[in-house]
Every structure is written in C-alpha cells, then in structure tokens.
C-alpha cells in the first residue's frame, strides 16, 4: 500500500515537471524542471531496488548532462526577433497527427503488453554475482558487451565532433 502511494506520488511529480519543462517560457527554468524530473526518476529507481542505476542517473544526467544544457541556455542568445515565432513553414497539423499516432501505438503496446509477462533476457540465476552494482557490471560485460561498446564508440565520435565544431583553430 505504502509503496503504491509512493509510486503514484513520484509518478505524478515526474509527469508534472515534464509538463512544466515544455510549457515554461524561461528556458533556464525549463532546464531546472528537467533536473527535478531526473531526480524523481532516480527516486523511482530506488523504489525498484536499483540503487546503482538511481545514483548513476543523478550523477550522469542531473549532475553532468543538464549542466551542459544550462551552459548552452545561459550563454546562447535566445532572444529571437518576434517574427521568428511565426514560422511560415510550421506544420502544426502534421505534428498533431504524428503525436496522435505515437499515442495510439503506446496505447496498443500497453493494452497488449499486460496480457503476457515480460520475460527477462537473462535469467537471474545465470548471474554468478550478487549485489546491485555487480549484477549491472556482469550484464554489461557479458550479454550486452557489443551494444555497450557501440555506445561508447558513439560517444567518442560525438566528443570529437563537438571539438571539431567548437574549436576555432586546431
């Protein structure tokens, strides 16, 4: 019972902040709501018993990536001329249609997903280590090794790309 209350409270906060992120006029405030959102997501992870994931969520997303967002938002001149707000190429109807389609897909997935329980790819018994962090590590370096390496390569490419873009002379 208590768990359910906690879950729904946290979920409500997550959704509320997510709405604030997209509706707030001031971009910096919007980024701050995003941070709060991430913190509540981390709380959700704690509830699921995934402390490692929760801590990493705070460390990487709230403490690292959003700081960079803030940098960009603070330093880039976001005051656009008023005519920029009336984009003649804006296709709001198309956007609405796409959003509706996504919502529909989600609804179908949810409706059908409840019918059969999701089976874990790797049975818990196959992991020879105990402990939250150890299990994550084991999975990353066994079954998910290739995705893990691809993701790290992707990050490396992004990093080099950012340097090339930003550096005035190399």
């Amino acid at each position: 019972m208590g768990e359910a209350i906690a879950f729904y409270t946290i979920a409500a906060f997550i959704l509320g902040f997510a709405v604030l992120v997209v509706t707030t006029k001031d971009t910096v405030h919007s980024v701050l709501f995003l941070v709060l959102d991430f913190l509540f997501v981390a709380a959700l992870y704690v509830m699921l018993g995934a402390q490692f994931l929760a801590v990493i969520q705070v460390l990487v997303y709230a403490g690292g990536i959003v700081v960079l967002y803030l940098f960009v938002v603070m330093l880039v001149n976001l005051k656009r001329p008023p005519e920029a707000h009336h984009d003649p190429h804006r296709r709001s109807k198309l956007g609405m249609a796409l959003a509706a389609a996504v919502l529909l897909e989600l609804a179908i997935i949810v409706a059908s997903g409840y019918a059969r329980a999701a089976s874990p790819t790797v049975p818990a018994a196959a992991i020879p280590v105990s402990g939250n962090t150890e299990q994550v590590g084991w999975l990353l370096y066994t079954s998910y090794l290739i995705p893990f390496e691809i993701a790290s390569m992707l990050l490396l490419v992004a990093m080099i790309g950012a340097i090339v873009l930003a550096k005035r002379e190399l």
Binding site: N77, L165, R168
Partner: protein, 378 residues
Amino acid sequence: MTTLQPQTVHGAMFDTNELVINMGPQHPSTHGVLRVVLRLDGEKVVDADVVMGYLHRGIEKLSENRNWTQIILLTDRMDYVAAATSNVGYCETVEKLLQLEVPRRARYIRTILCELQRIASHCLWVGTHAMDIGAMTVFLYAFRERELILDLFEEFCGARLTYNSMRIGGLPQDIPPGWDKKVLEFCKIMDGKLDEYETLLTHNRIWLERTKGVGVIGGPEATALGMCGPTLRGSGVARDVRKDEPYAAYDEMEFDVPIGTAGDTYDRYLVRMEEFRQSLRIIRQATEGLPEGPIVGKVPRLIKPPAGETYHAIESPKGELGYFIVADGKSTNPYRFRVRPPSFCNLQALPRLVRGHLVADVVALIGSIDIVLGEVDR
C-alpha cells in the same frame, strides 16, 4: 563613457559575442580607483581602455596658487606611499632654480630617507602584487616590515604617511639621536625578511607559472612607451636616474642597477626584489658615512626664484619622477608647476601589456607595473 563596444567574433562554425566588463573603479585589485574597461573574448582580453581621474585633485593647478614652501605638503599627496621621495624631488628642483647649495649632511639624510621610502614602497608593492596573484601571506609579511620603516619616519618627522619631511635648502630638523643605529638595525632585520618573501615566491612553481611570459615587452618598445623605473629595467634597459643623473648623495654611493632580460612580470619582480637589497646597501653606506655639518643651506628669507624654467628628475620607487617648474620671477608662487608622474607613464603601457592575456593576468600586470593612483590622477 568608453570607446569599447562588444563585437562579434566570427569563427569557422559559430559566431560568438564579446563581453565588455568594467574592472573598477571599485574593485579589490585596481589599487585604488583605477577603472579598466576590458573587452573580453571568453576570458581573453581583446582590448583594454584605462579610465582614470577619479582621484584628480588638481595638484598642479593648486600649486600655482601656493607659495614655494606650501607646495612641499602637496607633493606628499601624490605618491602617498613614497611621500618623502616626492618631497626630495620638488625641493631639489626649486633648489636648482634658486641655484642653492645643499649641505652634504642634508644630502646624505635625503638619500637615506629616499631609500627607506623605496623599501617601504616596494614592500607595499610585493605585498599587493602577491595578493593579486593569491598569495596573501606575503602581503602581511611585507606590511609588518613596512611598519618598521613607518616607525623610523615617525621618529624623524612625526608623521607616518604624508611626511612633509623636506625643506627647500635642506631638512626641517636633524635626525633624532640614535636614529642611525635604528636604521642599521632595521637593515639587519630586513635582510632576513627578504629571504622570507623569496622563499614564498621566487621559486614557487605557481608563482613562476603565473608571472613568467606574462606581459612581455621588449626594451626599445618599453622605452618608446615612456615606461620608467623597475618596470623599464625589467625589459633590460639600464636606465636609473640615480646613476645617470645623480642627485642627493647618490654620486658618492656604490650600488648596482639590476636589469631583467625577458621583460615579463617575473623579471620585473626579480628587479624589484634586487632593488630591495641595493637600497639596503645604499642605506648602510649613507648611514655609516654620515658626515657632520649643518642641515640647511643658505636659504633666502623669501623664496622667489629668478624667472626661468627647469626640469629635474629623480628616481622614485615607481620610476622617473620629474618636476617641470616655471618661475616668473615676480610672484612668490610658481608660474607653472608640472609633475611627470612615473605611475601615469607606466600605466600607459597597461593596454599594450594585457592584450591577448587572460583576465587573471590583468590584475597580475596592474600589480607588476606598480601604480599609485594618487600620482596618476594628481
């Protein structure tokens, strides 16, 4: 009102905007009321504009309406950390106009006072310069020793900052009994304390990184810019008024003029640190060889130099302190009184020195050229 406006920097991919910031007139490290307007690209200084005059009291104009003796007091208020040096410079200029012979004892005491003053001024410089770069302990150490000099001056003339310690033709009074012993005692203390400062700074790696290669200026360029004193000598120009155009008793003293090689902040620092030692050397010689005799020359009752003009320079702790005085021979005040302020001329180099460096270097460079705003603005 300033001429500096932020501009857009065009990069390969992005355009960025410059930032114009005001350093001063209320800022902890502009040594008073200097205002530096900086145009920054990120943290890099693109251009700098120096705005001053916040301490302008019109000393030149004031002096044209005071009689010759009253002006001594005004000269105190220019370089207020080296008031005695300004007094000496002014009195000697007037003596030159009057063609007055100053007794040898008075010249010796003037030399001692000038050099004590140089040490006091350099103490303030090393303290604030180190403080600007973040080494705050040196500041208090240097002030501890400056205090001893102020005590010596207090004993000599009763004042601790603005001494009014000279008279045209000599000194207001002889040195108190035992004063010369105390001066020698001070020299002994100072020797050890100098090593203490150098332990904290000279070979400190952070200090080296912060000062080496910062604000490099070559000898010819520095000369053309009118830089003077230790700031010019740091660039390798052996220009010292004490040696080149001796005044007071410097022609009888034995001392070296330290010069730098690289012309950066570190060399200017080394030059000044060596000047401490040379000053102590001069003080020792002058105190030990102090001649007996009168302390005031044959000064006329009414000081009224004949019509004419002259320029006389002395070496203040900051550099060449010149007085250009025009007497009209009719009134008892100077027709034109002009000071060539060393700080002003050194400060002129600041925009040239800071260009291309970072904000943190700006404060290091302001400290390195050692300005006193009282003298810049007069």
